[in-house]
């Protein structure tokens, strides 16, 4: 053993690292911070390390060239032994990292951990979040398939809305006038050098501050943060009721990080790698581009904005969101930390979480995208056409052939951009339907130029049959009255 000790001493005399490491490992933290709620930051860092390692391993095979990237990914998937697994671990590691970073942020927000003196830790954390999302987006681009191509196109259209310099920004983003080889090269540089370098540096600063300022104490209702007294109170708490960080709190970090890594590996093994999808040939237009999971909510929001709101929203919302996050510790640097006495904070977090979940769910179910093949692929059930007149049958043909079905479902099949038409006759009179078909409005194109009057007549007579058997179609009340009572009676004559 003395041989090992000599070697250790030889290195220690030169590195002199034992002292700082011992300081970091054995520093006292408040006893109740050794909690399962405090494990997300270390898990995020573990995932970052996993991404670095798997990223380097993938770079051994991946070719960052627009002409070859897609092929090299397919070779990774199908020819390199376990290449598919490495790709899957990297992709799932990314999903988990984004999720864990957001959970970490929510926990820190809920526990008031951003308050004095940890404002800068939060600020750096906001930039770490942005870098993490930057990695997720640039990583999606490196998976150089159809989704990556058209996802970049969406990036171009968002960039191009910036006044004055929009065109220049687009050229900078793409490295040229179109999405091509130069684009992939610069996204490779961003994903592999620029953003990870910044990420590692900021993570080091973040962890340094956690060590220097101590782990945030468990919030207690009524224990207020005051700049004059906080440091003294915290030190008292840490030393009188504290335990060494290792092993007291660190074992939970280790267990959770291990569990997260295991979850990544299981997801990777079960679900496999993501893509690559279709080859990045923009002349193949039979594609329904969709962003990766972390960006789905943006995709949904962009579909609900009215056209006039779009550019102002795109230009201001990201700035306001980031500014809002950065402002949090400076707006509320003192006072109550406990969520029991911060109703607005709890409500704000709930609102953000629920909105995010709803928009992500909407983006996954995509009710606004037309089903491009519904008109030719989804059949009309026989029950709609039994005993139908020739005019109604003609209308059904027009309903299919003019792509109405791409946006309107019947019998649960078809697009969901417009309302389902199973019971449209109970909601609209034939005149109203005629008017709607001809003039469009809202999210419906006007078909006045594209349908002849006989076609419209046939279509409306088909639509007028779409009502439940026990529910009669809608009718124009005044016209009905005029037609049924040949001699109008004075009102006073009624009982």
């Amino acid at each position: 053993m003395s041989g090992w000790k000599q070697v250790y001493d030889w290195f220690e005399r030169r590195l002199q690292i034992e002292g700082p490491v011992k300081d970091a490992v054995l520093h006292k933290v408040p006893r109740n911070t050794a909690s399962w709620w405090y494990v997300f930051g270390s898990a995020a860092f573990t995932l970052l390390m996993l991404q670095v390692v798997t990223g380097i391993l993938l770079a051994l095979v991946y070719v960052p060239s627009a002409a070859e990237a897609w092929n090299s990914l397919n070779i990774l998937n199908h020819q390199v032994p376990l290449g598919w697994f490495l790709r899957a671990v990297h992709a799932w590691g990314s999903n988990f990292m984004v999720a864990v970073v957001f959970i970490h942020m929510a926990q820190v927000f809920l526990f008031g951990a951003y308050k004095f003196p940890r404002e800068l830790t939060w600020t750096v954390g906001v930039f770490l979040l942005l870098m993490t999302l930057g990695m997720a987006f640039t990583g999606q681009v490196l998976r150089f398939d159809q989704d990556a191509y058209w996802g970049l196109g969406i990036g171009v259209f968002i960039m191009s809305r910036v006044p004055w310099v929009g065109g220049g920004l687009v050229h900078l983003l793409l490295g040229g006038p179109v999405i091509a080889g130069a684009t992939l090269s610069r996204f490779f540089a961003l994903h592999v050098f620029v953003i990870p370098g910044t990420l590692l540096f900021l993570a080091a600063v973040h962890i340094w501050m956690v060590l220097k300022l101590g782990v945030n104490e468990w919030p207690m209702p009524g224990r207020l943060v005051r700049k004059e007294t906080y440091v003294e109170e915290y030190n008292k708490l840490a030393h009188e009721d504290g335990i060494p960080f290792v092993p007291g709190a660190f074992w939970k970090d280790l267990v959770f990080s291990g569990a997260v890594l295991a979850a990544v590996a299981v997801c990777a093994a079960v679900f496999g790698p993501s893509g690559p999808g279709g080859q990045p040939d923009p002349s193949i237009i039979q594609t329904v581009p969709k962003p990766d999971f972390p960006f789905l909510w943006i995709y949904a929001v962009l579909s609900y904005l009215p056209p006039s709101m779009e550019t102002p929203f795109i230009l201001t919302a990201p700035i306001l969101m980031i500014a809002g996050l950065l402002a949090v510790p400076f707006v509320a640097s003192e006072g109550e930390k406990s969520w029991h006495r911060r109703p607005i904070a709890v409500l704000a977090l709930s609102l953000v979480a629920v909105s995010w979940a709803v928009f992500t769910h909407l983006a996954m179910s995509t009710p606004w995208s037309p089903h491009m093949s519904a008109w030719s692929g989804d059949t009309l059930p026989v029950k709609y056409l039994q005993e139908a007149t020739p005019l109604v049958r003609q209308g059904a043909v027009i309903f299919q052939a003019k792509q109405c079905r791409n946006c309107h479902s019947v019998d649960g099949r078809g697009g969901e951009r417009g309302p389902a038409l199973d019971a449209v006759a109970t909601r609209m009179t034939p005149d109203q339907m005629r008017y709607k078909v001809v003039t469009g409005g809202g999210n419906m194109p006007a078909y006045g130029k594209n349908l002849s009057p006989p076609e419209i007549e046939a279509l409306v007579s088909f639509l007028d049959t779409l009502h439940p058997a026990n529910e009669p179609p809608a009718f124009d009340a005044s016209r009905h009255l005029a037609e049924t009572s040949s001699a109008p009676q004075p009102v006073s004559a009624k009982p």
Binding site: F157, V178, I179, D281, S283, P306, T311, S369
Partner: protein
């Protein structure tokens, strides 16, 4: 923790602080003039590095900004093939190789567009990109509509906006007919900052060969 030298034997190590102390004493005796001269030299060193930094920054920034150029410098006339390929009154999908290309671009150089032939020499060539977020629109000849698969933007046959989130009609290319070939002025991905300046929305599109082809139509 204190700084100490990295000698191997503990005996030598203990002599370390003495040397440090001795040098401190020596420096205390140095004249204030000498110290201020050292500070001046340090400032001179910083200034030198600053100057070299600026001198290096100029070419670096110029290199980084190299892709930022006027749209027209990226564009040139490319052929979509014989005019006869496009029947009058119909809209056809066409594709071309973007003129600004490198050998490592692969398939990304293939760009699709729609050619609508209104008369013997009257064309409208639409960019494939939806004016909302650039997704590739699809043409449905039966209903005479372009539909976007992303957010459901719809355009009429003349490219004007029909419904959905787009705030303008489809983008168009300038075109000309040369030796029976339909040529378009291409090379720049259409977006709201170049071909589609927002100020042009309400202005009627100029028709005819070689003119500004931006579609100014709006539904």
């Amino acid at each position: 923790m204190t700084m100490s030298d990295a000698s191997d034997s503990p005996e030598k190590q203990s002599s370390g602080p003495d040397i440090v102390t001795a040098s401190h004493q020596a420096s205390d005796q140095e004249s204030a003039a000498l110290v201020s001269r050292r500070w001046l030299l340090l400032k001179a060193g910083i200034a030198l590095n600053g100057l070299v930094g600026i001198a290096l920054a100029v070419p670096i920034v110029r290199y980084l900004l190299a892709p930022v150029r006027k749209d027209d410098s990226y564009k040139s006339w490319v052929s979509l093939g014989d005019v006869g390929n496009f029947p009058v009154g119909e809209t056809r999908l066409a594709s071309y190789r973007t003129p600004w290309k490198e050998t490592w671009d692969g398939e990304t150089d293939n760009v699709a567009c729609y050619v609508r032939r209104e008369g013997s020499s009257q064309f409208t060539v639409f960019a494939i990109n939806c004016a909302h977020l650039g997704c590739p629109v699809r043409w449905f000849p039966q209903s005479q509509l372009f539909m976007c698969p992303c957010h459901g933007g719809v355009y009429y046959a003349d490219g004007s906006r029909a419904s959905g989130p787009p705030e303008r009609g489809l983008f168009t290319y300038d075109y000309k007919i040369d030796n029976g070939q339909l040529q378009i002025n291409a090379g720049q991905m259409p977006s709201l900052s170049n071909t589609a300046k927002l100020v042009n929305i309400a202005v009627p599109a100029k028709q005819g060969p070689g003119k500004d082809g931006d579609c100014g139509c709006r539904g």
